[in-house]
C-alpha cells in the first residue's frame, strides 16, 4: 500500500478485556516495529520483526503483551487483560531493512476504562 495502515484508529476497552491492534506495513518492507506513546512523551520501542521473525521483544512491558507477524507482512499486537496503564497510542512502523528510513502509521489510540 501507499503507507503504513493501522486499525482501528480508536479503541475503548473495559479493564480486563483483550484487544488486538492491526498493522499493515508498506508492501515489501522487511522490518516492522511497534511503539507505545504515552501522552506528552516520545514513542517507546516495544518490539521488532524482520520478516516473520520477532528479533527483539525487549520493550514489551509485560507478558500480557504479545505480537505476531506470521506471514512476514501484516502484524498484530495483542494485549490481554487490559489495565488502565495500557492507555496510550500504539504506533507501527515499517522499513525496507535494518538501518533504513522508517515510516509510521497513524497509530491506534487505546483507552482503557
Amino acid at each position: 500500500g501507499a503507507g503504513v495502515s493501522q486499525s482501528p484508529r480508536y479503541k475503548v476497552a473495559k479493564r480486563g478485556q483483550d484487544v488486538a491492534l492491526r498493522c499493515d506495513p508498506i508492501s515489501g518492507h522487511v522490518s516492522l516495529f511497534w511503539y507505545q506513546q504515552a501522552l506528552g512523551q516520545g514513542p517507546e520501542f516495544l518490539t521488532y520483526f524482520q520478516n516473520e521473525a520477532q528479533l527483539d521483544k525487549s520493550g514489551l512491558p509485560s507478558d500480557r503483551f504479545f505480537a505476531e507477524r506470521p506471514e512476514g507482512s501484516v502484524s498484530t499486537l495483542k494485549i490481554q487483560r487490559t489495565q488502565q496503564e495500557d492507555s496510550a497510542v500504539y504506533l507501527c512502523a515499517s522499513s525496507r531493512g535494518m538501518n533504513t528510513e522508517a515510516f509510521f502509521g497513524q497509530g491506534t489510540r487505546l483507552t482503557v476504562v
Partner: protein, 107 residues
C-alpha cells in the same frame, strides 16, 4: 542503549521567524531521523540523515556524527509548522526517540 536528548523542550515563535532545534545522542548511529508529529498524532518524516546535510524547502538538517548531534533548521516559519518535532536515532535495529520539541508558531 542509546540516549537521545532534544532541546529546547518548548519554543514559541512569531510567523516568519527562523529556529534551530538540536538533538544530541550518546553513541555512534547508523540511522537518524527527524519527524513532525501533527495535531492528529501522525509522525511525518522530515529527514533521514545519519550524517551530512539535507534541505527540503524551508527545512534543512545537519548531522555531525563524529560529535554526536543533529540540528533541524526551520526558516520563515508558518503557523502550520506548529506541533512536536522528534529526533530518533539508532545504533542497532530500533529507533530511540527524544522527548521532542513543542513548537508553537503564532500568526
Amino acid at each position: 542503549g542509546i540516549q537521545v536528548e532534544q532541546s529546547p523542550p518548548d519554543l514559541i515563535l512569531q510567523e516568519g521567524a527562523n529556529s534551530t532545534l538540536r538533538c544530541n545522542f550518546s553513541d555512534s548511529v547508523n540511522n537518524l531521523q527527524w519527524f513532525h508529529q501533527n495535531p492528529w498524532g501522525q509522525l511525518i518524516n522530515l529527514f533521514y540523515i545519519p550524517s551530512g546535510t539535507k534541505q527540503n524547502g524551508r527545512l534543512s538538517a545537519t548531522t555531525v556524527a563524529t560529535e554526536r548531534y543533529s540540528l533541524l533548521y526551520i526558516s520563515s516559519s508558518q503557523t502550520t509548522d506548529s506541533g512536536v518535532y522528534f529526533c530518533a536515532a539508532s545504533s542497532g535495529s530500533r529507533l530511540t526517540f527524544g522527548e521532542g520539541t513543542q513548537l508553537t508558531v503564532n500568526p
